[in-house]
Every structure is written in structure tokens, then in C-alpha cells.
């Protein structure tokens, strides 16, 4: 079964804290992984991606993510969050075995308390 799992539905942190949002997947073949952010009532904005090479990838607004093949994970991190980072974050996966479109997790709602 091919799945994308975001185990935390909600995460609350204080402004200036670090945060890690978790994503695990189970897909075969070569993997393309992305993270997106969705502010309330808006479309998805791309944060970063991984396909090959350095497993730690840098994205916009200070976000980074680390790919781990052994853990089947692609966790998103930020060292110091701002209140404007409050949004829903989605992990997405596509693989060479499963077609051209992305499969999305059900999202993690990040709330940053000022």
C-alpha cells in the first residue's frame, strides 16, 4: 500500500521556537518529495523538494527538510518560527512506480503563539 503519513494533525509552538513537522511515506521506486504551505482559504505554496543528491534541502523562508531512505521520512524543520508561519503544511510524494501526480498527506496545522 502506498501511503503518505503526517502523524501530527496539530502542532503549537511559541514564536522563536524550533519546530519539526513529520512526514513518512511508503512508496517504491525513485521518489520525489515536496512540502507545501497552505494559509487559510488559499492555494498551496511550494516550500521545497527532494529528488536526489544532498538529503538536506533548503527551502523558502528558512525551512529545510531531510530525506531519510532508511526511515522513509522527509521531515520539515525550521530553527526559529514566526507567527506568520501559522498555516497548514502538506507533505507530498510522487514515485516512478505510481504515476505522474502527487499524493498528499492530510496536513499538519502549525500554530505559532506570539
Amino acid at each position: 500500500t502506498q501511503t503518505v503519513s503526517q502523524s501530527d494533525a496539530h502542532v503549537t509552538v511559541f514564536e522563536g521556537d524550533s519546530v519539526e513537522l513529520r512526514c513518512n511515506y511508503s512508496y517504491g521506486g525513485s521518489i520525489y518529495l515536496s512540502w507545501y504551505i497552505q494559509h487559510h482559504g488559499r492555494g498551496l505554496q511550494f516550500l521545497l523538494k527532494y529528488y536526489s543528491g544532498n538529503p538536506v534541502v533548503q527551502g523558502v523562508n528558512g525551512f529545510e527538510a531531510e530525506f531519510s531512505k532508511s526511515d522513509s521520512s522527509f521531515h520539515l524543520r525550521k530553527a526559529s518560527v514566526h507567527w506568520s508561519d501559522s498555516a497548514v503544511y502538506f507533505c507530498a510524494v510522487s514515485s516512478s512506480n505510481s504515476g505522474t501526480y502527487q499524493r498528499f498527506g492530510t496536513g499538519t496545522k502549525l500554530q505559532v503563539v506570539p
Binding site: F46, T100, Q102
Partner: protein, 114 residues
Amino acid sequence: NSKVIQTPRYLVKGQGQKAKMRCIPEKGHPVVFWYQQNKNNEFKFLINFQNQEVLQQIDMTEKRFSAECPSNSPCSLEIQSSEAGDSALYLCASSLETKNAEQFFGPGTRLTVL
């Protein structure tokens, strides 16, 4: 920032009515995807195109939706006979490649079926 345009932003229809939404992909992007995001943040891939040709579509799309991406015109997605379960955010994304490439999302069309 994404330049994918989706219209209308909001659409309200009665059950059994047709519901049509449009998408203008980013300039130069030959690949267009349609996804459905429900209120539980579950994403469902509907259909994708490369230029005017359908690449993949799910069974539901084949039976109840009609979609096209004519040259020099907006792409469109139309539900032939709306059902309550079709109420969702419909997201259009465009990309330079069919896979392993960033997808740029529009703001979505929020459909409410009464």
C-alpha cells in the same frame, strides 16, 4: 509566487446542476493537474494534461467530469451533475514536466453543492 489563475474563486450549485471551473496555467507550462481537496484535507488527484492530451485520470473523473485544456484557451473542469459530496476546493497546478518537477498551484475554486 505562483501565477496560476483559477476562476471563479467560489461556486455554489444545486444538486444535479453543472459546475464549471477554469484554470490558466503558468506561461510555458505544458502540464496541468487538477486535484480535489475536501474539508478533511484529503487530496484526490482528478486528471492531468500535457498540452491538450489527457495523461491520467481517475475513474470518477472519467464518468462524471469533463475536462479539457484547449490550446490558447483556459483549461476547464466541469462536473456534469453535481452531488453534495463534490463540495470541496478544486486546485489546479501546472508544471514544466510530467513528473519530478515542481507543481505551481492556483488559489483554487471552492465549490459548494447545496
